[in-house]
Symmetry: C2
Subunit: 295 residues, 2 copies
């Protein structure tokens, strides 16, 4: 059980805890003092999207905890676990300035010791969208979030709408497993040209970065078509794909789907609460984005 | 949210709660008062084995909670969910006399509402013993126990050694998912002739009931052989099977195995902490039993 604080005055009040046992002990001590715990789980390399979630919870809790953990079990064998960007110093400063009290920064061996054999799986909601493209991904997400909730014991936990399917899966898991935590969803943060913020945007070359706005443009197009009366999902999806193929050099369109917000399964006709979601690979970078709309 | 207390004076102080939300609220209220919660999850039709677990926890906690829930998702489609014996009145009296404060008695629709999609799975440890014979069983057990722990928020939870594999699976799940609960294991309670107590013993005809002691006899034989120096698992297993075939009319021996206590995988040579475990069907009744030994 180790914890270290940075020497530099700017991050003096931020506590960094790297042991799950110690973090859980602290969480129970806070709960015993009747303090409300807010929690923002992240994989680090923080951007304004993460910071906005911290600011969303800050006024609603007494202790604000962020976890920084690049979770190996949510990456496929050919995915970017090893390359995923990491910068604890920079992240700690951002956390400090966003009012975070504790950064939980566990080691992989602490989270997944030898003889680790348990997984949490959310079915049905993971059959669509990113599910088929990233086998095991949501199982890894559900498992680590369940573990983190048990370690951090939050009253509130915030997730970004950018990962729309993740939000629905975690809401479902929390409800199904009776986890006593309120899930708060923060809106997607975007660059000035519309690109959704993501730690993975750093992978994009300057040319790819410019073309990446096609995802946002296609969502705006869909929104406009629906606003103008179109209700046929197939027509909207087809127009979105054409736009992406026009604006991006050799994109790999994994999916463009319009799904029901509750079931995450495709709707033929636009009605109720829907999510327009897409995943596109530009060069070696996989990007996702979505709009949530209600009719 | 409903809860009812029985009118009869003998069970006056026992509270029965049938809503998960209300149970969880009560659990947090008790924790806020710094009370230690002890928990004995059961499927009801209580016997002396369950009562011994309650008595084991009673001196170690402030609030003792028992759940009575015949968990549909741990039964296979051809198993005895519908026939499983139920008697709340009788169970409530036994709980009362064992010092239980609250019986949590949820409805199936409350535990598994429409749109329930989440499961907890413990791998590797469920590949052996009952695992292959009861596909999905331990997934159902792990899921319901995870849910119950989140609802009841226990500091301590007790399970019987009779369900040896269940004990190891739940210990693993609690550790892997960072569930803040101490797992306490109570010894197997037996009838005077050695038969392990089980709610399912009620299924046995008088003739079957008499022959059912063969399971205990075979475990005692194994113990004697080991005591006399035998270390070859195969020889011991063979002698156990012969005894069962001699003492029982047309038994279906699902397995007789000698496994390592930590891995639940077979050992060829007796050493360390081992479990000698067996499952035998006598007529329509499936019985399990085990001895845990250390060398």
């Amino acid at each position: 059980m180790t914890f270290f604080t940075f020497a530099r005055p700017i991050i003096m009040s931020l506590q960094i805890i790297d042991s799950a046992a110690h973090m859980q002990q602290q969480a129970f001590a806070s709960r015993a003092e009747n303090k409300r715990i807010g929690f923002v789980p992240t994989m680090g390399y923080l951007h304004d999207g993460h910071v906005s979630l911290m600011k969303l919870l800050r006024p609603r809790c007494d202790i604000l905890i962020t976890s920084i953990f690049v979770n190996p079990i949510q990456f496929g064998p050919k995915e970017d676990f090893a390359q995923y960007p990491r910068d604890l110093q920079r992240d700690a400063k951002l956390c400090e300035s966003a009012g975070v009290d504790i950064v939980f920064y566990p080691k992989v061996e602490d989270m997944y010791p030898k003889n680790f054999h348990t997984h949490v799986e959310v079915e049905y909601l993971t059959e669509t969208l990113c599910g088929p493209w990233r086998p095991g991904h949501f199982r890894g997400v559900a498992t680590v979030v369940c573990k983190l909730f048990n370690i951090v014991q939050p009253h509130l936990a915030a997730f970004g709408q950018k990962d729309a399917q993740q939000v629905v899966v975690i809401e479902r898991m929390a409800q199904d497993l009776n986890l006593p935590v309120e899930i708060v969803v923060g809106p997607t943060r975007r660059e000035p040209d519309g690109l959704a913020m993501s730690s993975r945007n750093v992978y994009l070359s300057p040319a790819e970065r410019q073309q990446a706005t096609a995802l946002y443009h296609s969502l705006k197009l869909a929104e406009r078509m629906i606003h103008d009366g179109e209700r046929d999902s197939a027509k909207i999806i087809s127009a979105m794909k054409s736009l992406i193929l026009r604006e991006v050099t050799s994109p790999v369109i994994e999916y463009v789907e319009i799904v029901d917000r509750a079931t995450l399964h495709s709707v033929q006709t636009i009605a109720g609460e829907i999510i327009i979601a897409l995943a596109v690979r530009i060069g070696r970078t996989r990007l996702i984005d979505n709009f949530m709309l209600t009719f």
